[in-house]
């Protein structure tokens, strides 16, 4: 009997926790409001510029690079991949609505059939396998990376539009949220510790960008050698820096993380293949 009472009271606690659990929209609003409160002068739309939003000098430098991006030839390679027909004569454009225009902002989306998050990269691979082609490796920047460097530009200007509907989608979202707030690596950092709690502060010499907007501008060409980084490659690099062995690029943990992370950017315009330090 005692055990039963204990069990019932535990269930009661769980119920209470579930009731107070914030909805994804509450989460997003509270994160955005945190930034607005601290930086009332920065426009919501400018969150897509990340750390550049805090530094007019860095933004001017960025604008200069973006006038004639030195990595244009790489995007061209991606365009060639996108345009080339599969062996069966079909093309990527045949796999997406509007021939692939203004679609990337709907990804990651939750697939009720497989009960899994589907990233844009996964959708590209599904298009390949459905047409008899071998899938690309998500971590391969020379194939998947380049392909997205062009394919995502077809959605430039589209607002991020992630949907979390139903219990399974919410569970995937919550798992991504947990990852974002979980301390990892020997250095004991979390994504949230820097990009929510310390947004706009300076880490030695670098401004810490705001979480909303971070998912809108991938892939990016980074650093002096303009290395191509998909969003998940960036996750891996960040994990490595805090001394965590990176998880699998294209694996379920990073997919769920991208789901939560992208939701925080809802309402912000996409712009792919930008330059980042």
């Amino acid at each position: 009997m005692k055990k039963l009472i204990w069990l019932i009271s535990c269930l009661g606690c769980l119920g209470a926790v579930a009731n107070v659990q914030a909805s994804p929209e509450d989460d997003r609003r509270s994160v955005v409001q945190g930034v607005q409160k601290k930086f009332p002068d920065i426009k919501f739309e400018d969150y897509v510029h990340g750390a550049l939003a805090f530094s007019p000098d860095a933004k001017a430098q960025y604008d200069a690079v973006m006038t004639f991006p030195p990595y244009d030839a790489e995007i061209e390679k991606g365009a060639k991949l996108w345009e080339t027909s599969f062996k069966n004569g079909k093309r990527y454009a045949d796999c997406f609505p509007r021939s692939g225009k203004n679609v990337a902002g709907n990804y990651p989306m939750f697939d009720e059939k497989t009960k899994k998050v589907v990233t844009f990269e996964m959708a590209l691979n599904q298009c390949r396998t459905a047409n008899g082609e071998a899938p690309y490796k998500h971590s391969d920047m020379n194939t998947m990376g380049l392909l997205t460097a062009y394919a995502r530009t077809l959605s430039d200007g589209m607002r991020m539009n992630i949907k979390v509907e139903g219990k399974d989608a919410l569970a995937a979202y919550e798992s991504g949220k947990r990852f974002f707030h979980q301390r990892r690596g020997q250095l004991n950092f979390s994504c949230a510790g820097c990009h929510i709690s310390n947004v706009g502060n300076v880490l030695r010499t670098e401004y810490l960008s705001m979480a909303p907007g971070q998912a809108t501008h991938w892939p990016a060409f980074r650093g002096g050698d303009y290395s191509l980084f998909t969003l998940q490659r960036r996750y891996a690099a960040c994990n490595q820096m805090v001394r965590l062995v990176p998880l699998e690029i294209g694996g379920e943990e990073y997919n769920n993380l991208e789901y939560y992370h992208s939701y925080l950017s809802n309402g912000l315009p996409l712009q792919a293949s930008v330059f980042r330090k």
Binding site: Q186, L187, N188, F189, S197, N201, V202, L203, R204, T205
Partner: protein, 122 residues
């Protein structure tokens, strides 16, 4: 003199050889870093990522994340409390960004002591 010179030459060569060995040994043994070096090194203490040090002209940083390291003796009259803070800052503040240098063995106890000695003088 002619007769002994080959022996002398050999001996001299040996002395040079031995000296060489000693030098190699000394070069191999890394010079132990000072507390300041450990504090600045971004693979070690990396204090400057989050703390400014107005009292040390060599401490170059633009950070504003954590309190500047100054008047440390005033703020931590007990050195042990400062040591504990470096060892695991999450004990005093669960949400802190500061890595637990001792608990996670980012620095050895000896290294933490050197860093604490250094910042205690700031």
């Amino acid at each position: 003199m002619n007769q002994i010179s080959p022996t002398l030459r050999a001996a001299g060569a040996c002395v040079i050889l031995i000296a060489g060995f000693l030098q190699v040994a000394r070069a191999d043994e890394p010079k132990a870093p000072t507390g300041q070096e450990l504090a600045f090194d971004n693979r070690k203490g990396n204090c400057l990522a989050c703390h400014s040090m107005p009292g040390d002209a060599k401490a170059v940083t633009s950070t504003n994340i954590a309190p500047p390291l100054l008047d440390m003796k005033g703020r931590f009259p007990e050195r042990a409390k400062l040591y504990a803070q470096v060892w695991d800052a999450t004990k005093a503040n669960a949400d802190t960004l500061m890595p637990p240098f001792g608990k996670h063995r980012i620095l050895s106890d000896d290294e933490i002591n050197k860093v604490v000695d250094y910042i205690y003088g700031l």
